[in-house]
């Protein structure tokens, strides 16, 4: 049976992981390859690497890093951050990434989703959507959640699917960082609305939140960053907990 996926997310700047990482069992927590390898060994189902570098110069480092990641880890991974053209994506997939995520550039130029999907296949195009509830309406934001747009979560997600996105990565900015759980209502609504997988992001604090995301939110996968990086939740423990609660999950041998 197809399993629910657990996805740690690593923010990368200038080739190094940035979000606070506190791991006692690795030598260099700033080394994305070492951290990624550890997650792969622990049973993470996929990884996401977001390049938050500000300059093009720093982004060049990222393509080299992607190849280094692919050389060392044996699970699928998505890369994103600053992707705005077909030309940006080719080298990343050739370097061994399995999928790319697009966010702000797709909002600016929705046609980008069509172009990427046609060039590389829907299965490797993830549409990342950051949204926050404003006046009772889920409003899409760009640039790491800084800028509100006139797009609404549900219509944008549906449009993304129709344009050829293979997956939706939905981050609720209202929940991100709160550790109070995922945004279950919009997740459930996205599930009913779409026929591509939805990744839940933002708000994970305890293991029970993942159960909620899968059962109540109907998410296909759940993504988190700091709770994994700081060891607050360990992936093997989480997988076991999910299994004990009747969620189909892959337990690494």
């Amino acid at each position: 049976m197809l399993t629910k996926r657990i996805i740690p997310c690593l923010d990368i700047k200038d080739g190094r992981t940035v979000k606070g990482v506190n791991f006692i069992d690795i030598r260099d927590a700033g080394d994305p390859v070492e951290l990624a390898s550890l997650y792969a060994q622990q049973g993470a189902d996929e990884l996401v690497f977001l390049d938050i570098s500000a300059t093009d110069e720093q982004r060049k480092t990222f393509a080299t890093l992607v190849k280094d990641i692919a050389r060392h880890i044996n699970i699928p991974f998505t890369v994103g951050g600053g992707i705005s053209s077909v030309a940006d994506v080719g080298p990343l997939l050739e370097a061994g990434a399995d999928k790319v995520s697009v966010n702000s550039a797709a909002v600016r130029n929705p046609q980008l989703i069509d172009e990427l999907s046609k060039a590389f296949g829907a299965q490797c195009i993830v549409l990342a959507i950051d949204a926050r509830k404003i006046d009772n309406s889920w409003t899409v934001h760009t640039h790491g959640g800084k800028n509100p747009t006139d797009k609404k979560l549900f219509t944008w997600a549906k449009e993304g699917q129709e344009r050829g996105a293979g997956e939706i990565l939905f981050t609720s900015m209202d929940h991100d960082g709160t550790k109070n759980g995922f945004a279950l209502d919009p997740l459930h609504k996205l599930h009913d609305l779409l026929n591509i997988p939805v990744i839940a992001s933002g708000g994970a604090g305890i293991m029970g939140h993942f159960i909620d995301a899968f059962i109540l939110g109907k998410a296909d996968a759940a993504l988190a960053a700091s709770i994994f990086h700081f060891g607050e939740i360990k992936i093997p423990d989480l997988k076991l907990f999910l299994q004990q609660n009747g969620i189909n999950t892959r337990i690494a041998k």
């Binding site: 399993t3 996926r5 044996n74 699970i75 399995d98 296949g121 591509i196």
Partner: protein
């Protein structure tokens, strides 16, 4: 042992070569017929669309090379599908090594297409290490090979389909061993020792 990865416009060549590198296998990535024929084993990777890929293989005359190989050949994902007779993906005539029709998953209720993620393998018999039984492999595909007499492993998504097949010197898997963690390594090792 010398292994050849068939070089063509497949999306996962880099990942397959890294997986072999991690296993310490000596390999080359090549589209030269002589070099492919001279290898002890051949891997036919694949990520992409069936009709475009078949056209590419025919243009390069790699289709004739592949069907004439006598050493063990491992097809991966689209590679497996192209080894069949025909694919519903843009009504494509394929290599015809396996006398099977590749079918499209029809979305069913909550079940989404493509079938993407980790799913477990049930071995029927044959070349795969028994340790793989009920282990999880990583799949990404919208088309599948139905269960048939050459099926060596079955996975269920909406219905059972072939996760692995084997006939004479041709072996193939629908999932991505290069991305399937320890299970993937066992699959590649199984092929390296057939």
């Amino acid at each position: 042992m010398k292994l050849a990865i068939i070089k063509y416009n497949a999306g996962n060549i880099q990942s397959v070569s890294f997986a072999l590198e991690r296993l310490g296998v000596d390999f080359s990535i090549t589209d030269h017929p002589e070099e492919i024929r001279a290898a002890d084993k051949v891997i036919f990777p694949g990520v992409g669309e069936a009709s475009t890929t078949m056209r590419y293989l025919r243009d390069k005359k790699l289709d004739q090379v592949i069907i004439s190989l006598k050493q063990p050949v491992l097809g991966i994902c689209l590679g497996m599908q192209l080894m069949c007779r025909y694919s519903e993906e843009n009504n494509t005539d394929c290599l015809g090594i396996f006398n099977e029709t590749v079918k499209r998953f029809v979305p069913l209720g909550d079940m989404k297409v493509p079938h993407m993620g980790w799913n477990n393998l049930t071995l029927t018999n044959g070349w795969l290490d028994p340790a793989i039984e009920n282990q999880y492999a990583y799949f990404v595909h919208s088309y599948y090979v139905p269960v048939n007499s050459t099926t060596m492993a079955i996975t269920e998504y909406m219905h059972p389909f072939s996760a692995a097949i084997h006939q004479q010197n041709f072996y193939a898997v629908q999932f991505h061993p290069e991305k399937s963690a320890q299970t993937g390594n066992l699959v590649l090792k199984s092929f390296l020792t057939v």
